[in-house]
């Protein structure tokens, strides 16, 4: 479906704020910024950055959908939709054969099942705990004295997977410190950290099941080590999408903005 005009999706997550501008069924601009203290400002900054990237102005937008945890303070949005629905639509856009999504964001992890149209059929989220999230990786990168961006690559050089607790970030942190003190190879510890998260996520999928193709979305999806750990632990092959998996939520929001505009017109006719 293609609706003339420009539409925007703004996804304010706990760590990253993302925005996408959609026009004629295509992404014409996007942005990814670090979420600041005020989620409303972060969303607006991301939206303006995406507009700049697209070469469009605010008044060119017909409809804006806000999503992510920051959607509760998004007065710039015409409508807010949960990130679960948005990730489903975004993943469907990036990889239409997607039937299962693993979404790992800064503060939570979601297992989402969808139909062939990108509609959510079932989902499960981790409980209020950092294990299995981007925040977990940040804590661990800090312990290992490496940049978070380096974690994935380092894990690929492991010679064995050292067991790390999969249930609690704080315990996993102290376990990791013990492993360092024992003189274990850092790469083997790092791969253990990735496997700890993958085990946690595997448990989450026992509630909703898995069907191919499996799409990995969210900021952590850019971590090659995490992709490999998920494939090894869950015995799956992750889809290789074209486009940025961190933008999936914002893309879904932009698509829903376009649909909302179209439905508004249907309502006006009906």
């Amino acid at each position: 479906m293609s609706e003339s005009g420009a539409f925007a999706g703004v996804d304010v997550g706990s760590l990253g704020s993302k925005s996408v501008i959609f026009e004629n069924g295509k992404i014409i601009g996007s942005s990814i910024l670090r979420t600041g203290l005020k989620s409303e400002e972060s969303g607006l900054d991301a939206l303006n950055a995406a507009l700049g990237d697209a070469g469009r102005r605010r008044e060119d937008l017909k409809f804006i959908v806000g999503t992510g945890y920051g959607r509760i303070s998004a007065p710039y949005a015409d409508k807010t939709v949960t990130e679960i629905t948005c990730h489903a639509r975004g993943a469907h856009f990036l990889h239409p054969k997607t039937r299962t999504i693993i979404d790992m964001g800064g503060q939570d992890c979601k297992a989402i099942r969808l139909d062939e149209e990108g509609n959510v059929t079932d989902f499960a989220m981790n409980d209020k705990c950092a294990a299995g999230t981007g925040r977990f990786l940040e804590v661990m990168a800090n312990v290992m004295k490496v940049q978070i961006e380096e974690l994935g690559e380092l894990s690929l050089n492991a010679t064995e997977v050292l067991p790390v607790s999969s249930t609690c970030t704080v315990f996993a942190e102290s376990e990791t410190i013990s492993l360092i003190a024992r003189g274990e190879r850092p790469e083997n510890i790092i791969v253990g950290i990735h496997h700890a998260i993958a085990n946690r996520i595997h448990g989450l999928f026992s509630r909703v099941g898995i069907e191919s193709d499996v799409f990995f979305s969210g900021g952590v999806a850019k971590n090659v080590g995490m992709r490999k750990a998920l494939e090894d632990v869950m015995e799956i092959t992750l889809a290789q999408p074209e486009g940025d998996p961190q933008l999936a939520g914002a893309i879904g929001a932009a698509i829903l903005a376009q649909e909302a505009w179209a439905n508004k017109k249907i309502k006006a006719v009906v």
Binding site: Y69, K79, E117, N119, M125, N263
Partner: protein, 398 residues
């Protein structure tokens, strides 16, 4: 404008603790009870005042209760323990004896605690591990007879054929009125919401049964001519709520479900509709009452190996059909064994019928409100999208 009788019920609740104090001063005794299978009409027939105890939703009391039991015990059990420890609850203060049946295996052990630490008179009513067998039925008849004898001892009065008939008649009429209220609130357009009806059901925890029945009948009469409540959206996705107890004081998940655009139309909660769904005393006797309790909608506390014969699941399926529910919200409290064990099984059975299912796992602390809101909003969005696709809208989700 709210219904006048609802205000009257609130007024009756406000004056109830003082009434109990007065009644006790005049020599009457209050029998507090906990759990699901306490045959309450026997308390009434024995001339005692029945009060259903236990609140939820207060994390401070959960912490207090945690000083007496493990932090790994369910939050409801911990809160009740905290309530007894604190001793300021108007109903606990006015309780002469506490009866607890062995339905929820965590909750019934509170009897040990409140007897040991808080020196309250407590009694146990045994519940069989299998409700279907003849031995199980026989066991519960014996336990109910023993319960009746204990009540007579406390009250100093015999349960007579006349007092038993009166009690059974009052409780039967209350159950019929609650069922009528549930049918009305579930209508496409309704003068009363499910939420209001749920509060009315929980007023039964405390009010005098004759007064309560009269108020229910007044409410039903008022509703007949009352205007439709404009706050109830006829288009909102219709939700059945099941799972762990949602007692007075705990409205977190229910409020969030409504704020997310869902409309609860039915529940099978043991703190809600479950005791009214199909409890039917066919014979006015102690044995007849025992049989009615054992044959009614069961609590989730016991394992049932034959899924096809599981009455709890059968009833949920029938309620979904009768109340035209679009999806099921399964509420589980942290460390509630009874219903956390049932969640995956219930989901799997309903999936075969293509009924959307969402489990919300929570406790009384407020820290997970936004996380629950996201889950509920996403669930409501998915229910709405199913409807919108069917009505020819483009795409789905909003």
């Amino acid at each position: 404008m709210s219904l006048q009788t609802l205000n009257k019920i609130q007024e009756a609740l406000a004056s109830r603790p003082a009434e109990l104090e007065k009644a006790r001063a005049e020599g009457k005794k209050v029998a507090g009870w906990l759990n699901y299978n306490v045959p309450e009409e026997l308390i009434y027939a024995a001339g005692l005042i029945p009060v259903h105890l236990g609140n939820g939703g207060d994390n401070r009391l959960v912490e207090t209760g945690g000083r007496y039991i493990s932090m790994m015990n369910c939050v409801f059990t911990r809160q009740i323990t905290g309530q007894f420890a604190e001793g300021t609850d108007a109903y606990i203060k006015n309780t002469d004896a506490v009866f607890i049946d062995v339905t929820c295996k965590q909750l019934y052990r509170v009897y040990e605690l409140i007897n040991y630490y808080f020196k309250l008179k407590t009694e146990i009513i045994g519940v069989p591990y299998n409700f279907q067998t003849a031995a199980g039925k026989q066991y519960f008849r014996k336990e109910t007879a023993a319960f009746a004898a204990k009540l007579e001892k406390i009250s100093g009065k015999k349960i007579t054929a006349e007092s038993l008939k009166y009690a059974v008649d009052v409780y039967t009429a209350i159950r019929a009125a609650i069922r009528a209220l549930y049918r009305i609130q579930a209508g496409q357009e309704t003068p009363i919401t499910w939420h209001e009806v749920y509060d009315v059901v929980q007023a039964a925890y405390y009010l005098d049964k004759d007064v309560y029945l009269r108020l229910l009948q007044e409410l039903l009469a008022e509703i007949e001519t009352a205007p439709v409540n404009p706050k109830v959206s006829p288009d909102a996705p219709r939700i059945l709520v099941s799972g762990s107890v949602i007692p007075p004081g705990d409205r977190k998940v229910l409020d969030l479900a409504e704020e997310s655009g869902g409309r609860v139309v039915i529940d099978d909660l043991w703190s809600g509709f479950a005791p009214y769904l199909d409890t039917d005393v066919k014979e006015t006797s102690v044995e007849g009452i025992a049989d009615a309790y054992i044959e009614r909608h069961p609590h989730g506390s016991l394992p049932v190996l034959d899924i096809e014969q599981d009455k709890r699941l059968k009833d949920i399926k029938q309620l979904i059909k009768d109340y035209k529910a679009d999806g099921v919200l399964f509420h589980t409290l942290r460390y509630c064994d009874c219903f956390t064990f049932k969640a995956a099984e219930t989901k799997s059975v309903l999936k075969e019928l293509n009924i959307p299912f969402l489990e919300i796992h929570t406790e009384y602390a407020k820290s997970d409100i936004e996380a629950i809101r996201t889950r509920l909003e996403a669930f409501v969005e998915s229910l709405k999208s199913r409807r919108k696709i069917a009505s020819g809208f483009i795409g789905a989700g909003i």
